[in-house]
């Protein structure tokens, strides 16, 4: 499942030759993201290491993990959407096995994967940690 989505995302992005279009697509994804309930926008779900605020919520409905999130910056929100698109509805096992390398493959001038300020790395860490937690408890 996860692998399939990963491939699809890479293909989707390859359709946009310029970085403007890629960003436009990311922002579009962000806009389409289901709004996060206000109660979840708490310190508890805030992700550290982002210049903009990012909230990420995880629900475990055996055997799958579901992610919800938001951000106050548009691009970051798009990244949140991308991350959710990718990992939500995967099993902990699938997530643990994933190398999380898709982001360096979508060709955004290394931007997404390199700068820490967008918090992508922090988001991926949080997701991996959730997966590990529920994997152990299984």
């Amino acid at each position: 499942m996860l692998e399939k989505i990963e491939k699809k995302i890479i293909t989707d992005f390859s359709l946009f030759p310029s970085w403007e279009e890629k960003y436009e697509y990311i922002i579009e994804l962000g806009k389409e993201l289901a709004p996060l309930k206000q109660v979840y926008k708490s310190e508890k779900h805030l992700i550290k290491g982002c210049q903009s605020r990012v909230w990420l919520v995880c629900k475990y409905n055996k055997p799958k993990l579901y992610f919800f999130g938001d951000s106050d910056a548009l691009i970051t929100k798009g990244i949140v959407a991308l991350v959710i698109k990718l990992y939500s509805q995967s099993s902990p096992q699938e997530i643990i096995n994933n190398d999380m390398g898709v982001f360096s493959k979508i060709g955004l001038n290394e931007h997404l994967s390199m700068t820490r300020s967008n918090g992508l790395n922090s988001m991926l860490k949080v997701i991996k940690n959730y997966a590990l937690k529920y994997y152990k408890n299984e």
Binding site: W19, E20, Q51
Partner: protein, 405 residues
């Protein structure tokens, strides 16, 4: 991209490099580029003169020790210090402030005393003082500001009293480019016999510094923000405080008799320079200052005035742009937000267009709180920037705004 004035670009390898030809570097408040002179000084040291300084019996070591001390002299002159030994080499502005807070602060500030800082200091000029306050039991009080983000001098007078033991204030803001009225602050403080520390990290690349004229007690800056190397900075301590200091770091060179019970420390400034210093860094910093002298600080000021007014004019044309600290701007540092757009989105897309700025709280959460924002975009220019770059920046900014709407 760069159009040249006075052949200045030629002297900065970064600006000349083919790799960077499309880049507009507006992140000079974070760090400046280095002229060839600086890089050459570092290379020459390592390639043909490399040796450690102090206590050597060989001419080579003595010559570099002399160069090191000449750098001290050069810097003293550059900032108008009367004595060379009032110049202490550190690893940067942050260390300078920590050194002062520890070496002077711990010895002279006690429980119940007051340390005055402004609400809008860079973290490096805030945390060493709040830490000192916590350690000593002293209290931090906040210097009142007026609406233009300047110290309110009449309010200042009201809160000064003999419990205030030091005032720590920036010279030029790292966010807004605004220069404080340091001379007046100091003259008021001195009426109460209160010493003043000035955080000049953002100043000497933009204005002429004269610690003697300002009459300040302590002053600091970093090499890397002054066209010099990383890992080197300066702390100026007025001679009259020499007796009120304790060593900050201890180790080689700063001791005469290394006894366990009663060590005898070296005289100033060596007392505050433990261990092997950043020799290449110091020589590079001297080269940077020589570069500035040759180019002329007045030339720099003139050039930056032009950049300032051109940028101001251009920013006016951007709808929904909120600029922070419009008045009394001295350095071409511009902080702004666009209504309803996140600063992160702006700086990210500027970067995608090869325009390098910085965004976020800019290590100044105090100012962000004061402005009731969580961050902003900062475009910080240096004298080697030009109006073409401003044009590009403005046109890209407009494009981004419409893109993000």
């Amino acid at each position: 991209m760069y159009t040249d004035n006075k052949n200045i670009i030629k002297q900065f390898p970064y600006l000349q490099s083919v790799k960077n030809k499309d880049i507009v570097y507006f992140d000079n408040a974070a760090t400046t580029h280095k002229p060839n002179k600086v890089v050459d000084a570092i290379c020459e040291f390592y390639k043909s003169n490399n040796t450690n300084i102090h206590r050597s019996t060989h001419v080579q070591g003595a010559a570099i020790t002399q160069d090191y001390e000449d750098s001290r002299k050069c810097i003293a002159k550059f900032i108008g210090a009367k004595n060379n030994n009032e110049i202490i080499f550190t690893s940067g502005a942050t260390e300078s402030i920590n050194l002062l807070a520890n070496s002077y602060g711990r010895k002279n500030i006690q429980k119940g005393d007051v340390i005055l800082i402004s609400e809008i200091e860079h973290h490096s000029n805030m945390l060493p003082w709040t830490t000192l306050a916590k350690e000593t039991g002293a209290e931090i009080q906040i210097i009142p500001l007026n609406e233009e983000l300047m110290v309110d001098l009449s309010e200042l007078k009201l809160i000064l009293n003999n419990k205030v033991k030091i005032i720590a204030i920036h010279h030029i803001s790292n966010v807004t480019g605004i220069m404080q009225n340091i001379k007046s602050i100091i003259s008021i403080a001195h009426k109460f016999n209160i010493p003043v520390f000035v955080d000049g990290a953002q100043a000497p690349s933009h204005i002429k510094i004269d610690v003697n004229l300002l009459n300040c007690d302590f002053y600091c800056f970093s090499g890397h923000k002054l066209f010099g190397p990383t890992g080197v900075g300066v702390l100026f301590i007025k001679h009259k405080y020499f007796k009120q200091l304790t060593p900050y770091k201890t180790g080689g060179q700063m001791v005469v008799t290394a006894s366990i019970k009663k060590p005898k420390w070296a005289e100033m400034p060596l007392q505050l320079e433990a261990g092997t210093p950043n020799i290449a860094g110091v020589l590079g910093l001297r080269a940077a200052i020589e570069f500035i002298k040759e180019y002329g600080i007045n030339e720099i000021i003139k050039k930056e005035e032009e950049l300032n007014s051109y940028m101001e004019m251009q920013l006016k044309n951007i709808p929904k742009l909120i600029q922070y600290g419009k008045y009394n701007k001295t350095a071409p540092i511009f902080a702004f937000n666009i209504k309803n757009i996140h600063h992160y989105d702006i700086s990210t897309l500027l970067a995608q267009n090869n325009i390098l700025v910085r965004s976020g709280h800019l290590c100044n959460q105090g100012l962000m709180n004061h402005l009731k924002i969580d961050g902003c975009v900062r475009a910080s220019l240096a004298f080697y920037n030009n109006s073409n770059e401003i044009d590009k920046f403005i046109s890209v900014l407009k494009k981004i705004i419409s893109f993000l709407k």
